[in-house]
Each structure stands twice: as C-alpha cells, then as structure tokens.
C-alpha cells in the first residue's frame, strides 16, 4: 500500500514543515505535547511497556503523536505503528520513527526520522554498529553519526533530527572542570553537526533540585544555541510499572532489586505525562514543552512509506512476471499430466492465476519456484507446504507434490481478496543440505539484499518466573522449583495454585508481587534470535529497509523485525526450513537404486505407487517406528483406533494429534463418528460445507476458523484476529471479548454452549501451534512415502534412519531392534567391513520378502551392516583414515590397525571397546588390552614378555551386552533384560510381548530399560514412560500421585519394574502403574558382576 498517507491527510499544522525556529518558539497560544524520547520493551530489559500500551496511553493523554526511540534498534517501532493503525484515529496518528543511539565515546543521543532518505541513513547506521559487535550488541562511535552524511551524500547526521539528553549529559552538583569541559565540548560538537536539526532534550524527574537543574539545562542549551525541549525520557506508559522497571534493571544487573541501589530510579516519574503535568514539572516553561510539537511535525516519515519491491531478476528481460509465471505453470502442468491436463485442474489453474495476478503475487511464486528449481538441480529433496502451497499452481510448478485432484483445494481460503495478507509458502529441504539453498540465495541476491528474518524471544511463564523470582531475591533453589512447576501454565488461577504447591503463599506480599510481575512481564521480548528459515529478499539494499545485525552463527545476519512485523508492512519472505525426513527419504531412495534407473530423486519419489493397501495395513497396526510424524507414542496409540485406509485418513491422522483438536476435545467425537458409534449430523448446509470431510468435527485450523465465521458470525478478518490474539495470549482482555462473541454467536445459531467452549479451546490450541490442512497434506505425503519405504525396503530405510541420527523419536537401538523384528538381518560394526555410514550388503534394490506377513518384510533382502558412526566418540575423520587404509588390504590384527592407520591409544581403545575387531577374532577385552599398550615403547624383542602371560577374565554374555550398549548404544547380541529375565520373572514380571496377550483390567508387572519419559503439558501431570525389554516395548502411564510416591525410581532409574493395571483396548496397550521398583542396580550388577563392594 504505497503512500496511504499523503500529506494532505495530515492535520493542517503539518504543512508548515519549514517552520523556522523562531516561529516555533513564538507559538505561545496552543497546548500540546509529544513525547520524543520513549523506549519500549524492545530496548530489551530496559523499558517496561509494550509498544501498544504506550501508544494507547499517549492517545488517552491527548498527545498527537509519539516517538519510539529504542536503544540502537528499530524493533519496537513497527509494533507501535501497527497499534496506532489499529486504533484507527481521526486525524490519523503517526508514530515518529527514531532510535536512542548509544555510543562508545559519547553520551547517548536520540534521533528522529524526518523522511525516507534519512530513514535509510538510520538503518544503515544501526546496521554498521550492529554488524561490528557480537550478537545482540551494537558498537557505534560518534563519528559514525557525524559522518554518515559523508557516505550518503547528505549533511552531517544524515538528515536525521537529533536531541541530546541534557539530563544524562550534565552531572548534577559539583563536577570536575574536566568533566564539565568534556560535556560542553560535546554539546558544541553536537550543535555543529546538526545545526537547526539539533535539539536539547531536558528531563526532570522530581529529583532533589529540579528548579536548579532546569535552570542549568536552560543555560547550557542557550550557550550552544540549541532549543530546549522537555521530555520525560519515558520507560513505561504508566507509573504502576515502576516495580517492573526495577525488576528489569535487576535482571540486567543480575542482582536482586533490594541490591540495585543507584541502578534503579528513585521514583516512578519515567511515565508518559499530560501537557499540563509537563508544564508544571518544568516550572511553567511552556515553550520548552510546546517545542516538542515542532520536532514532531518535522517528522513526516511514516513506516507505510516503506514499499516492498520484489527483486528484478525473477523473470527474463522482456517478459512480465505474469507472463513468465503463466508460461512456467502451463509447462509444468503439461509435465504433471502427460495425458493432458484434466478440465477441472485447468479451470483451477486459470482461476488461481487470475487471483494471483490481481493481488500481484507473481513475484512471490516465482521466488519460491526459483528456490525449488535450484534445489532440484542439485538433487536436494524439497517440498512446499503452507497456506498458499497447496494450490494447483504450486503443484504444476513443482513446489508441492500434493495432487490437487487428491485433496480438495480452495485457493481463496488461503489467499483472499478481502484480507490483503501475504501468501505463505514454507519450503522444507533436506536438513543436511538446506545451507546450500541459503547460500544460493545469498550469492544470487547478495548479502546486502538478502537476510534472515528475526524472531523475538519473549518471556514465557517459566523464564518469566525464573527471572522475576531471582530479581525478587528468592533463592536459586526456590526459583528452580517454582519455574519448573509453572512451565506452560498460562492462566492466573492455575498459576497461583502452582505457586502454592511449590510452598509459597500466593496471598503473601511476595506471592502477590511475584504473580503480578510475572503476569506483566509475560510476552516481553527478551532478545532477538534468528528465525528458523525465513529469508527476506529485496530489490534495493536490505540495510536501507531495516537494520541488520549479527546472528549467533558465524557469518549469519538477521534483520531486526520478525515475521509479524514483515506481515504488517507487507514485506514478503520465503521460509526455507529443514526437515530430517527428507534426508532419510533421499538416502533411502538412493540406496535402493533410484539413481541406477536414471530417475532423479524427485521422480523416484513420485514413482512410489500410491494407496498401497499393505502400507495402510502396516500403519493401522501401529507398526510405524521411524515413519515420519506418526511414530510418536501418541500417534501410535491413535493409529489402531483411526485405522487409516486412504491418503486423506493420513492427513487427518497427522492433524488430529495436535494441541488444537486435543484441547478442543475433538478427538473422541471424531473417533466415535468414524467408528459409526455416533451419528454424523450438521445443523445446516453451510456447516456441512465446512465440516463434511471430517465427519462434522473440526480438526484443522482453517475449519475452526471457518466455523467461527459460519457458525458464530465472525467476519473472516475477525476470525483471523481471533487466532492471532490467541497466539499472543498476553492480552487477556482481547481474548475475553472474542470468547464472548464466539459463544454468543454460536448459541444464537443453535449450538450448545459446551460445543462453543470446546471450539474456543481448540482455537486457543491452534494459537500455540497452528496446523492447517495444507500442512497436514504435505506431511501426510511424507508419511506415506516413508511408510512405503519401511514396508518394502526395511533394511534401506533403517540404514537411512541410522545415518541421519539424531532425529525422530527413537534411538538407534530401537531402530535396529525394529528392523530385526521385520526380518532384516543386521551385522555388527567391523573394522574390516564397515563404512562410516550404515550400509546394505547384498543386493540393495531387493525388497526382500515382499508380500509376506508384515513381520517378515525384510527376510531374504539385503543385510544391514552397521557403520563406524555407531561407535561412540569416534570421529568421522578417523573412520575415513581407517577405511582409506583398508582399501590397500584388510587388516590382519589389532596391532596392524594401529600401526597402519597410525591411531593413538585413545582411538584404538574406543574401537576396542566397541568390539569392532570381530573379523580378527579378537575379543573386546583382549583388543582393549592390546589397544592400551604404548606403542612407542615396543619391547626390544617380542619374546621378552609373552603376551599370553596376561590372562584376562572372559566376558560373560550379559557383560558383553552391557558393554555394547555402553560403546554403541545398542547390542546385536541380545538385550540386557534377557539375563535378568529369570530374576524379574520371580518378581512377577511378564514380557512386553506377553503384555499384549493379556486381558484388559488384569493386575500385571512388566520390566525393562527406560526408553523415554514424557509429560505433555496437556496431560494434567500424567507421565508417560516407555520401557523396552527383549521382546519389545511397553507403555506405562504414571499418574501424579504414583509418580510422587516413587519419584526416586520414576525420575532417575535406568531400568524399572512396574506393577499396575493393564489397559488393553482396541489394540492399544498401556499399564496404569501403581508401584515402581528401580532395577538400575540389578543392571549394574549384570554389568560388573564382580564389583560387589559397590
């Protein structure tokens, strides 16, 4: 939206832009005040109000504008700008864009932006300072500001208006001559640099001698000929925020507030003030107050003037972006549908292209297309998702692989005429190769035109409590306990309850202050971080659009705005994300010989037969270890109930185990309806349209949103606001208002209140983690592909997973165990046979046992050889040296390995411990004994000490297993519990395998290694623990009381024996635990049977 704010729409005063100073001073009649120095909480840990709070307050106080001057930053300006826009004031309100510049060699100075050119200057200046300093810091020298003009071709100070903060500059009371001279000479330099663009800002804060101070400031300003302007040097919008400001200072100084001393303000006078108050404060000096208007009116720049321009190089010379996109799309369509584009698709594409042209989004689609094209050309797997991604155009362009004829696509749902909102396409790349794509962008557009989007890290309950607690002087212990208790707790009442549980009375003064301050600080930005993959690309210099600063990673830069800021200003970004599963699929397809047949990786993936019933059979049986998305425990327990039979079922499966549907309690109704135990009905046709494909139950984010529109009478814009408000849960007022509207609206349209409440909760769940259908569809595709690979190429799939560790839910040992359960024979790591990666031996393209029972899919197929990467602590470089040397001939003995490869004692010991010398027939202990020997001191003649003089105790099987676990994280010899079996059997335990056969409701016990402990925030204190024994995995549910009773075992045991009640329904098996026994000791004894003194 270019120039929405033409000068004519400003208040008439604005026309006297060139008001001379004398005239400005002469204006005695009016009243009015504009705060010119105001920090927001984007000056991290300094100021104590959100930008919107400041704006709202300034409007209330009758200010006609407000300058946002964050410390070396423009991060808070956008939020203030948006807040002012949302208030929709008449006459429109303009935020004065500015910054408080802090120098290494000079006192701080506030600058304001009068026009677009000086805005660019300020951005460049801040970028310069930020790029010099480590992440989060800024190093500026006075010469940077005084000299920016030189580079930009403008006068000193680069056309910026500036104010020197006299109350900071002039020390009160008697000062040394030297200090005084220094201050004066700086004032003179300042005045000389800025000329008539310079002002002196004077702040009074009810100090010991305000009258004297003001007199002195006046005198000093007059000495150098700067007009004196009154300011409150604002740190918060309202004086009630003083405690929070103190807490922030304490956090910054890392000491409790009690010990802040002179680091805190004496009083609460740093708030926004009324004109009358200001006049009174400065002892009736109206001119100094009114002069703020003069400065404000000189600043006509509005952030709306920033117009985003797409890069030029998106289409060849001589064509328009529209033509180019059209051509590419139809070419792509022809490729996708070799038999001719179906009529429905043709119509869809035409329609979408029309809409894209209307909204001028062609460059965006071209940018994404270019990325995808580049990735394809390098053989990098990628896939688009996101609101605009699941369109026919994207399918034709190859951005996504979800055939629009396979799921129903309604483009307008994502890109609409009413909501002028940027389309959103996220592109996932293989996680190990995303960097190539980013580098491509940097090379193509240059570092000054491409940058990563920032992410503002804000206070969440846990971090808020930690910091506030420390600032209030609670002991570290206590803070620790408290902050762990409140993790993820957002509403006040539960918060207070948790505080009480942790032993702090929430009604005591400390408790009240703690709760109040934590509530205030929630949502406060704490620092800027790097977005996972959002890139902004511009036509001109990025650094003239927004300041750029260093990220934590070497050589990475990040812009000061996050995605919401970019959205608000209409600046587009593309998201380049990384996805481990794509790497796995790539590796797997490569192994099974996709390359050999001349297919590209993409083609190979596309060639995977769709809708294979065997694959769905496997999925329905929850046999999904390693499969994308549906391998988690929650997903696994859903699969047998949902029984997916087609692609769309997978889409639902992916979307249903999410905070939204769970918090909205939509999962069970859906399951009941799917099982036919509940009637599917719709109150009216409009709602049928929204919910038909999910049996009348809202599952996806957009369904919930549409329901708000269709069933509660929201406008689409309101619905979207509702979702955003949910995300930013720090504004309870807004949420309450929407809540009322939603419930009322639905009740009026014949819904019961309970359903409306559930829908509200669901929308809140989406606020935390939105999951639209388009995402689910793209993910479901990967689910299907990975499941297919697991079903037909279990060996290759396992190898690819093992080589991509760490990723997913399972550790190597479970992946290997799962592969073996599927009939894949796995061979141990061996110095003479293993590569770095896990590899296949035999014909890798063989499926092996296809068509047999699911349990034996891998039988007869290739064998999986574990790679040297499994050896803990072994570096890839060492492994490479071993493999390189081996190519000249296999090793004959342990000594030979060490001699030929030249490995030191530590590396040899590492290899020996991992027992990789099997092919040399050297057992672990012997190998270790040999490996430890110092080779530099070879005995002069070999016979001197007979090696057989040393007799080492043989290792038992159990010991070997434990040693395997220790050195590789898994064992092919067996499971530690095999050796413990007779013991735990005596204690009453059945195996995990037997558990499945038992009747629901029986009292049973099971024992195993603890694989994982999980306590999802939605589970009300219930902990899920997974045990593994030699027959498989067993799932435990531990309620809070039980957990607490056996906390010692529950928390830290490596192995557990659990007693409880079996829950076995619809193939979902859990043990509801009533008693726990720690078996870690027993495991230790297996490990080291002779160390009985332990």
């Amino acid at each position: 939206m270019p120039d929405q704010n033409p000068p004519s729409r400003r208040p008439p005063v604005a026309s006297d832009r060139s008001v001379s100073r004398s005239r400005g001073r002469g204006r005695g009649g009016g009243t009015g005040y504009v705060e010119l120095s105001c920090r927001t909480n984007y000056s991290f840990l300094e100021a104590a109000s959100h930008p919107d709070e400041l704006v709202t307050r300034a409007v209330e106080l009758g200010h006609e504008s407000l300058a946002i001057t964050d410390v070396n930053s423009l991060a808070g300006v956008v939020r203030a700008h948006v807040a002012a826009r949302e208030l929709d004031l008449d006459p429109p309100w303009n935020i004065i864009c500015g910054a408080r510049l802090r120098f290494e060699d000079a006192p701080p100075v506030v600058v304001w932006v009068p026009d677009r050119d000086s805005y660019a200057v300020l951005c460049r200046l801040l970028t310069t300072g930020r790029r010099r300093a480590p992440k989060g810091e800024c190093r500026l020298w006075w010469s940077d500001l005084a000299g920016v003009g030189v580079e930009g071709g403008v006068g000193g100070g680069g056309g910026l208006l500036a104010g020197v903060l006299l109350h900071r500059l002039l020390p009160r009371g008697p000062v040394s001559r030297e200090a005084r001279d220094r201050a004066l000479s700086f004032l003179e330099r300042f005045a000389a640099t800025f000329g008539d663009r310079g002002y002196a800002l004077g702040g009074l804060f009810r100090g010991p001698d305000d009258v004297g101070s003001w007199r002195r400031m006046n005198a000093w300003a007059q000495d150098v000929g700067l007009p004196l302007v009154a300011t409150s040097d604002v740190l918060y919008h309202d004086r009630s925020r003083q405690p929070l400001a103190d807490v922030l200072s304490a956090i910054r100084q890392r000491c409790p507030v009690q010990r802040l001393g002179f680091h805190r303000q004496t009083n609460a006078e740093r708030s926004l003030k009324r004109y009358e108050e200001m006049v009174e404060l400065v002892g009736g000096d109206r001119q100094a107050v009114l002069r703020s208007l003069e400065v404000a009116r000189r600043c006509r720049f509005s952030l709306d003037e920033l117009k985003y321009e797409y890069p030029r190089e998106l289409c060849p010379e001589g064509t328009t972006v529209g033509e180019h996109l059209g051509r590419l799309t139809w070419e792509g369509a022809a490729g996708r549908y070799p038999a001719g584009v179906p009529e429905s698709v043709r119509r869809l594409v035409e329609h979408e292209l029309e809409l894209i042209a209307e909204l001028e989004y062609e460059p965006y689609f071209l940018t994404v297309w270019d990325l995808v094209r580049f990735a394809r050309s390098r053989g990098i797997l990628c896939q688009g998702r996101g609101s605009a991604a699941n369109s026919a155009v994207c399918y034709c362009l190859g951005i996504t692989s979800v055939d629009p004829s396979r799921i129903d696509v309604l483009f307008e749902r994502f890109v609409s005429r009413e909501r002028d909102e940027a389309p959103d396409i996220d592109v996932d790349f293989e996680h190990e190769r995303r960097e190539e794509v980013l580098q491509y962008l940097y090379t193509k557009y240059g570092r000054d035109r491409a940058g990563m989007t920032g992410v503002v890290i804000t206070y969440r309950p846990k971090s808020a409590l930690r910091d506030v607690g420390k600032a209030l002087g609670l002991s570290l212990d206590r803070v620790d306990r408290l902050s762990r208790m409140v993790d993820g707790v957002h509403d006040d009442e539960r918060f207070a309850g948790r505080i009480r549980d942790a032993g702090l009375d929430p009604t005591s003064q400390l408790g009240r202050q703690l709760i109040g301050l934590v509530r205030d600080i929630l949502g406060f930005p704490r620092h800027l971080s790097q977005h996972v993959g959002g890139m902004v690309i511009t036509r001109g210099r990025l650094t003239e659009l927004v300041p750029v600063e260093n990220a934590a990673m070497e050589g990475r830069t990040v812009i000061q705005w996050d995605k919401d800021d970019l959205d608000a200003l209409g600046i587009l970004k593309v998201d380049c994300l990384s996805l481990g599963m794509l790497t796995v699929i790539h590796r797997c397809l490569e192994t099974i010989g996709a390359r050999a047949t001349g297919q590209t990786i993409d083609e190979a993936m596309a060639a995977i037969p769709a809708e294979d019933p065997e694959v769905y059979e496997m999925i329905s049986g929850a046999d999904t270890v390693g499969v994308f998305q549906i391998e988690s425990r929650a997903q696994m327990s859903m699969l047998p109930r949902l029984q997916p039979r087609c692609f769309y079922d997978l889409v639902i499966e992916v979307a249903i185990v999410r905070p939204g549907p769970i918090q909205g309690d939509m999962v069970h109704p859906y399951l009941r309806r799917r099982a036919g135990r509940e009637e599917v009905s719709y109150p009216n046709e409009a709602i049928r349209g929204v919910l038909e494909k999910t049996l009348g139950v809202p599952i996806f984010q957009e369904q919930a949103m549409r329901l708000a529109v269709v069933a509660a009478g929201f406008t689409p814009g309101q619905a979207d606001q509702l979702r955003r408000a949910m995300g930013a849960w720090r504004r309870p007022g807004v949420i309450e208002q929407f809540h009322g509207q939603l419930v009322e609206g639905m009740r009026g349209r014949g819904y019961d209140e309970e359903f409306a409440e559930r829908l509200f909760r669901q929308i809140r769940g989406f606020g935390e983690y939105g999951f639209p259908e388009s995402h689910a569809a793209s993910f479901a595709l990967l689910v299907y592909v990975s499941a297919w690979l697991k079903r037909y190429h279990p060996a290759a799939f396992s190898a690819a997973l093992l080589n991509s560790q760490p990723m997913g839910f399972y550790a190597s040992s479970q992946l290997v165990a799962d592969a073996r359960r599927h009939g894949v024979s796995v061979r141990e790591v061996d110095i003479n046979h293993s590569e770095w990666d896990c590899t296949l031996e035999g014909d890798a393209t063989q499926r092996g046992g296809a068509g047999e029972a699911a349990g034996g899919a891998g039988v007869g197929g290739p064998e999986l050889r574990l790679g040297l990467r499994m050896v803990r602590g072994l570096s890839e470089a060492v492994a490479e040296r071993v493999i390189c040397e081996r190519e000249r001939g296999e090793f004959g003995s342990v000594q030979e390995v060490s001699r030929r490869v030249g490995l030191g004692e530590a590396e040899m010991a590492r290899l020996a411990r991992a027992d990789v010398f099997g092919s040399l027939e050297t057992a672990r202990r012997k190998a270790l004994w040999d490996a430890l020997a110092d080779r530099s001191e070879q005995p002069l003649w070999e016979g001197e000490i007979g090696e057989d003089a040393v007799v080492l105790p043989e290792m038992g099987r159990a010991e070997e297993v434990v040693a395997d676990y220790r050195s590789q994280g898994l064992s092919l010899r067996g499971h530690p519990f095999e050796c413990l079996r007779h013991r735990v059997q005596r204690l009453g335990a059945v195996t995990a395998g037997e558990l499945r056969e038992q009747r629901h409701g029986r009292q049973l016990a099971v024992a195993g290694l603890v694989l994982l402990r999980q306590r999802p925030s939605s589970a009300r204190g219930v902990t899920f623990v997974t045990l593994e024994d030699e027959t498989g995995m067993a799932n435990l549910i531990i309620k809070q009381e039980t957990w607490e009773r056996y906390h010692q075992a529950a928390r830290s045991a490596r192995a557990l024996l659990a007693f409880g009640t079996l829950q076995n329904q619809q193939q979902v098996v859990h043990l509801l635990v009533s008693r726990l026994v720690d078996l870690s000791q027993a495991l230790g004894q297996v490990a080291l049977p002779s160390r009985d003194f332990r």
Binding site: P108, T266, V950
Partner: protein
C-alpha cells in the same frame, strides 16, 4: 555436587550428581508438599575453606602426634623418622572440594599422621585410633580411621574398606599384614587416575590382587610409570615422606605466680613486663602483630582454675612495646582484674611480616597524608582510633558511610573504622553491562539534605493550599511556622519489595523565622512529617 552427608546418601544421592537431580531425588518431584523445601541444606563447595578447615583440624591432631600432614605431596628427604604406623582419618562433614586433579589423594579430606612412638600414650594403636575417632566424631565429623604401615595403605584402607559394614570401627592393620589387606581392596583404593580405574574395570581388573597378578612391565606399557608408582605408594613399597604441618613458633610470654596475686598494681606491672617481652620477641623475628591476647588465670576455687581473656586488636600491625602497652593498659583499666591470679600469659596473634611503606627521600607527614588520602588511614588517625577502640571497645568507634539507598534514613550506615573499604566493595558490582545507568547517581549538596536527620520522621500538622501542593503553614515544636519559601517536591518512591516501602514528596522549606526544615508528604494518605532540620 561434591559431597553429601550420610543421610542424603541413604536417600539415593551420590557425589557427582547435578544439584538439581540430587534435590529432585531427595525432595521428590515438584509439588510433593512445599514444606520439605527447607529440609535440604546446600552449601557451596569451597576447596580453600576445606583446606583451611582441614589444617585447623590437623593442628588439633597435635594432641596425638606432632607429625600431621594435610598435603600428601611427596617430596623425598623431608621426614627422617622411622615410619612404623600411620593414621588417617577422613573428614566428610564439610563439602569436600572438587575432585582435585587426577590424584584422588590430593582431595582435601584426609589427615595423615605419623604415630610412631605415640601409641603407648593411648594404650596401643587401637586405643589411639579410637581416641582419634572420638575426637572428631564427637565434633560432628563423620570420620574413618585406619592404621597401617604406610600412609598409602592407611589411606587406602580408610577409603575403601567399607565392606566391614561398620565404618565407625577404626581399622588397624597389624604389622606386616598391609599387603594382605590391600589385596582385598578394590583398585580404587590405589588412588589411580580415574581414567586408569575405568580402563581396568572394563578389563574386569577390579580388585587389587587381580592387578598385582599382571606383569608390571605390561601395566607400565599401558598405564604408565605413574600407575606403578601409585601402586607402590599404596602398598608402602617406598617410604613416602609426609609434609607435616609446621608447628607454630609462638610469640608468647608468661608468668606464673607462686601464690595467688590479687593486687592490681602488681599485676599491671607484671603484664607490662610480658608485653615488653612479646614486643622484643616480635622485633627479634622481624614481625609485627595484629592482635594481642592477654590471658589471666585465676584460682577462684582450688579445683577449677578459671581463664579470662582480653583481646586487643590493632588497626595497623605493630611491634612497638610502648604502643602495644598503651593499648593493653587502656584495656586493662577498663577491665576488672579477677581475684587470685595465678598465671598471666600474653600472646601475639596474627603475626605477619611488616609491609614497609614506600620510602621517599623527603617524606613528611603531610605528604604521606596527601597521597594516601582515603586509602590507608592517616597515621595519626590510626593511633587515635586504636586508642579509642581500646578504651571504648571496638564496636564503639565507627564512621558513617554513604550507601546506595534512596530512603534517606537508610542512606547512611555506621561502619567500624578500618572496615569501610569492605563495605564499599560489597556495594559495588563488577562492571555494568549496559552503557547507561538506569538510575541517576544522586548528588546531595549541602542544601538538598539536612546535615542531621531526626531519629525518624515525626508527624506534623500542615496546611497546604492545594492537595498535591507545597506546605503553607505547619506546627512544629508547638509553634506555628509559616513557610516563606520552598523547594520541591523531590519524590522518593522505593522499597515496594519490602514491608517498609516508602512513597514521599519531600520539600525543603524556609519559615518566616528563617529556619529551614525538611518535610515530606506521605503519598497515599497525604500525612505530613518533619524529617530533618537544616542547621
């Protein structure tokens, strides 16, 4: 976590655990009743303090033998006596320092004592060991005592022989049976490098006998010379010298009377002699002292002599007899001599090498003052303070120090003279992280704060024209005062985190009588107070 008490060990805590885990193990998951939060005491590990404590305990061990060591450093040729028995006690009551380096023996937790020729005083070695055990367990330490033929073996037994199940029983290896004991111990007893212990246990060489059965050359090839050395040390195969705590060289003078003396003048004279003797002793050694202790033993009843102790502290260490005597006598004048004195002792504590002030060619007293102004106390001042402290007691001589507090009544603190620096230090925090200080450095000129504050603010009746406005008239000391001029308000709002938070608007006012007062209005209830009078 470095160390923990027996109670926490039985609760499942092991040294080496992260503190948070230990806490979770002991106190249960969060939510299991808040009251137990206070049940766990966590003390920061401080190896220095441990060492100091150990040295202190070592000096106590002089009761049993003069040869006590806290540092097992092996510098050969230092100890010449024949070693026939060693005692080691392990102290774990304190947080034993971080696992020091690679030699477990260097952890500050053990006392090694050479008890050669001392055991007969306690019956036999067992008796001595038992006495030692009583000494430290009685003082709250959990202690393990072992007696063996060499320090290494004694250390090993004390550390590893818990299989007896009775750690409180002192273990005594009878002569010649050291190696038999050792062979049954786990290899950890040898105080090998942790990495070596790990490797050996992987090879299932878990007990000392297994290790001893391996050929020494092979051990050396794999685990180095050092390992062999440590094995030998533990087995007492070479004479490990003990670096013993040096016995102090006390600067003491004492006098016993043949019959009880009660006359103050006699005693005074005797005391003076003793102080002079001590001063001579100090001079001879080239030392100065920080503190003189006078101990007076009186015989109130025949059976129980009673000791009285006077301590005289100095601001600047000294060795001058007149100076020291002056301070002591000032103090003795303040005290009452006990009756029936049988013995006098004067003891110099805190004996240090004097720090010589830099010599300048033409040093004058004024120059000295100028250069050290604010740093060291001026010499004359030091004398004065010492005299006053001796006379009035140390706590009585103090000076005001400005502290970082906005509430006027707590902005000043009285600090013992000579300690101001430490107070100011603790107020300062190292380095500011952000460029600007958020608060203003306050400056209180002579006119902004009264020289004297009242004991506390006193409520007064004030008339103000406007509710938020300045005072016009007020009553003070039952006199009506009319305000002719005022300055303010200066607003002080602070202490919201504590019970005594304040929110006040201060005014400086001049009355028609020409007097200046410091008043404030309490924000909230608008009551007025006088807080100070300008003089």
């Amino acid at each position: 976590m470095v160390a923990c008490c027996a109670g926490s060990v039985s609760g499942g805590v092991r040294p080496g655990m992260p503190l948070s885990e230990a806490r979770a193990v002991l106190l249960g998951p969060v939510g299991a009743g808040g009251e137990s939060v206070e049940g766990l005491e966590v003390v920061e590990a401080d190896e220095e303090a441990d060492l100091r404590c150990l040295a202190e305990e070592g000096r106590r061990a002089w009761r049993f033998t003069p040869l006590v060591s806290v540092t097992p450093a092996a510098r050969p040729g230092q100890v010449t006596g024949q070693v026939t028995g060693q005692v080691t006690g392990q102290v774990t009551g304190q947080a034993a320092g971080q696992a020091a380096g690679q030699d477990p023996r260097s952890r500050p937790e053990s006392l090694l004592a050479n008890i050669t020729g001392c055991s007969h005083l306690f019956g036999d070695e067992r008796g001595l060991a038992r006495a030692m055990h009583e000494e430290w367990s009685g003082r709250g330490f959990s202690v393990r005592v072992a007696v063996a033929g060499s320090p290494g073996t004694a250390w090993a037994i004390a550390h590893s022989a818990h299989w007896t199940g009775q750690p409180w029983v002192p273990l005594v290896a009878s002569p010649g049976r050291d190696e038999l004991w050792m062979r049954r111990l786990p290899i950890e007893a040898l105080a090998l490098r942790p990495s070596v212990v790990r490797s050996l246990s992987e090879l299932d060489v878990a007990r000392v006998d297994r290790l001893l059965d391996l050929p020494a050359a092979e051990i050396k090839r794999r685990f180095g010379e050092e390992t062999l050395g440590r094995i030998d040390r533990a087995l007492g195969r070479w004479q490990e010298p003990l670096e013993c705590l040096p016995m102090p060289d006390p600067v003491v003078a004492c006098r016993s009377f043949d019959y009880p003396v009660s006359r103050a003048d006699w005693l005074q004279e005797a005391l003076r002699e003793l102080v002079r003797e001590v001063a001579c002793g100090l001079k001879r050694r080239g030392r100065v002292t920080w503190r003189l202790v006078c101990r007076v033993q009186s015989e109130v009843s025949q059976s129980e002599p009673e000791w009285v102790e006077w301590v005289t502290g100095l601001v600047e260490p000294s060795q001058k007899a007149e100076h020291l005597w002056e301070l002591v006598s000032l103090q003795s004048e303040r005290r009452r001599w006990p009756a029936e004195v049988v013995r006098l002792e004067v003891l110099a504590q805190g004996v240090v090498v004097p720090e010589r002030p830099q010599q300048t060619l033409f040093k004058t007293e004024t120059e000295y003052e100028a250069t050290t102004n604010g740093g060291v106390l001026r010499r004359g001042m030091a004398r004065l303070v010492e005299r006053l402290s001796s006379r009035l007691g140390e706590t009585s001589v103090s000076r005001p120090v400005l502290c970082e507090a906005e509430v006027p009544e707590s902005a000043v603190m009285l600090v013992r003279v000579g300690r101001e620096r430490s107070v100011e230090r603790s107020g300062e925090r190292s380095g500011e992280r952000s460029g600007e200080r958020s608060g203003e450095e306050p400056w209180f000129g002579a006119v902004t704060r009264p020289l004297r504050l009242l004991e506390g603010p006193r409520p007064i009746e004030v008339m103000a024209v406007v509710p938020e406005g300045p005072p016009i008239r007020f009553a003070w000391e039952s006199r009506a005062q009319r305000v002719v001029r005022y300055w303010g308000p200066e607003r002080i709002e602070t202490g919201w985190w504590a019970e005594g938070g304040v929110a006040r608007d201060y005014y400086r006012v001049e009355t028609d009588a020409g007097e200046w007062y410091w008043l404030f209005r309490r924000r909230g209830d608008d009551r007025w107070f006088v807080h100070g009078v300008f003089e």
